[in-house]
């Protein structure tokens, strides 16, 4: 990964109260690339996204976005930076009291002085880009899970962000929607010339589309590389994760004490 970095994470540590969540994370997200951050639920993936978005402040280390340390920015600076970012939330987080049209137009109306006719054209273009032109008058409650995710994607790219973050974009989707969303993430990244970060535990779908992968376990990076390198990794945790093996470094059994002793069985 040689091109210039848009996001740099250096030696980031983070703890909730005294519980360490991130332990010395180093990551680089070069411009124009699509990069996945993978790991089990609760391993700290979403916490990394929250650091990049400036929601959380590291206890040690720094996060730089577009050359600026994000957690040193004041609220105005942070909001200015966030206008150049887009984030797709796990279940879309569409505004349920607005139509599809108003959802996609939301940022345009909040952050620009564009006349309503131009906003209309832009919204239609965004909807067309995610294949849902014609749904503009529907309410979010009338959409299927896959459609809602695509509308949320259209809203995320409303202002053509330089950085797009995806928090579990594949969660709860049927196989067709899964492929559609995966393809859209890749296509939009290339068409917009953006940099994309996908936080996911869906190995198969994400390995098809990403340029590079970081594997996180228990708040630290345990493996990284291209999709092929990850598929062929010798690291036992990565192997268990990628191939979905039942037992391995992540044990099948919860560490619940001595089962035999509990039943009174002498072994």
């Amino acid at each position: 990964m040689s091109s210039e970095a848009l996001v740099e994470i250096r030696d980031v540590n983070f703890a909730y109260d005294k519980r360490a969540i991130l332990k010395g994370i180093n990551m680089t997200f070069p411009k124009g690339k699509l990069i996945a951050v993978m790991g089990l639920s609760g391993c700290g993936k979403t916490t990394i996204l929250r650091h990049i978005g400036g929601v959380l402040k590291p206890t040690k280390g720094y996060v730089k976005v577009d050359g600026q340390v994000i957690h040193d920015l004041d609220q105005e600076g942070l909001y200015r930076m966030r206008r150049k970012m887009g984030m797709l939330f796990q279940f879309g987080a569409l505004f349920t009291d607005m139509t599809v049209f108003d959802n996609v137009a939301f940022q345009m109306r909040e952050h620009t002085d564009l006349p309503e006719e131009i906003i209309r054209d832009l919204v239609m273009m965004k909807l067309h880009a995610v294949g849902l032109y014609g749904t503009q008058d529907l309410m979010p409650a009338e959409l299927s899970g896959g459609m809602a995710r695509r509308i949320a994607l259209a809203r995320t790219i409303a202002l053509d962000p330089m950085l797009i973050m995806y928090d579990e974009p594949f969660a709860g989707l049927d196989p067709i929607s899964l492929t559609v969303v995966g393809e859209l993430i890749r296509r939009l990244n290339d068409a917009l010339g953006a940099t994309s970060i996908v936080v996911t535990h869906d190995v198969q779908e994400s390995l098809k589309i990403v340029d590079y992968v970081y594997f996180v376990s228990d708040g630290a990076i345990i493996a990284e590389g291209s999709a092929d390198e990850i598929r062929n990794s010798g690291e036992s945790f990565v192997r268990q994760f990628v191939h979905g093996e039942m037992d391995g470094p992540i044990p099948f059994h919860y560490p619940g004490g001595n089962f035999n002793k509990d039943l009174g069985v002498r072994v």
Binding site: V55, L78, Y79, R80, M87, L94, F106, Q107, E110, H111
Partner: protein
């Protein structure tokens, strides 16, 4: 040991309560600070006035009518004993304008619109709509909270006025139309007894204060609700309980200030 642990538990509750009061005050200050948008784009506030004010109209009008009718009936029965039935108009109007209008309208507003605000904001938080707004560089206090706050503050005195007007009409229907109290004395006694500044204006001030209290409690409880189904339901219940107690407590304090000797 038991004493130590119970002391610790009391201490932790007190610290928690103080912390929440501090957080709520900060939330209130932030709401005031970020209120500019609610007036620059008044359309946002008007939309909320529709949901919290206009949609509460039916319950306010019907309740006002019945309260006025009961006042007319009870007032007549009591005044008859002293041969002062003609004072029915002033009794109905003063009770409504000074006390029942602002207090009952605020209690109804808390249960109808306050609980809805809490549930809406709590669910917006639970479904990450608030976080999404923040990530889009849109301040949720300015965009979501402040318009609802001002809508509540504007709606409350208007609803209380409607409640009182409907109550007076209810009292008229029962007292004059059904029982047969003299119409002329009903209205003229009312006109003579009700002072605009002392009674009407004080009633308006009361309902304004209740409006601030109810909307701040409702919005804060929604914004602070844990993002779970249980969290939102608990917050909605707390809104109704705390708002009702706050209304009654504030009413006593305001009455003491306004009408005490």
């Amino acid at each position: 040991m038991a004493i130590v642990s119970s002391l610790r538990s009391i201490g932790s509750r007190v610290i928690n309560a103080v912390w929440r009061i501090g957080y709520a005050s900060r939330f209130f200050m932030m709401t005031l600070l970020y209120s500019g948008l609610s007036f620059r784009r008044f359309r946002l506030t008007v939309r909320e006035i529709f949901f919290s004010g206009v949609m509460s109209l039916i319950i306010i009008l019907v309740a006002g009518m019945f309260v006025g009718m009961v006042l007319g009936l009870q007032g007549y029965e009591t005044l008859k004993r002293y041969g002062s039935e003609s004072a029915l108009g002033s009794l109905v109007a003063l009770s409504l304008v000074r006390e029942l209008g602002p207090v009952l309208a605020a209690l109804l507003f808390a249960s109808r619109a306050g609980s809805a605000m809490t549930a809406e904001i709590g669910l917006m938080k639970a479904t990450e709509q608030i976080s999404a707004m923040e990530m889009m560089a849109v301040n949720p206090i300015a965009r979501v909270v402040a318009p609802r706050f001002w809508a509540g503050v504007i709606s409350m005195p208007l609803l209380a006025a409607m409640f009182s007007a409907m109550g007076v009409f209810g009292g008229y229907v029962v007292g004059v139309v059904l029982i047969g109290v003299d119409e002329g004395s009903f209205w003229s006694q009312m006109q003579g007894a009700v002072d605009f500044r002392h009674d009407v204006l004080n009633g308006v001030i009361k309902s304004f204060v209740f409006g601030v209290a109810v909307t701040v409690i409702s919005l804060f409880e929604g914004y602070d609700a844990p993002p779970t189904a249980e969290g939102v339901s608990g917050a909605t219940t707390r809104t109704v309980v705390q708002s009702s107690l706050a209304i009654l407590m504030l009413d006593f304090m305001l009455t003491a200030f306004m009408f005490g000797e």
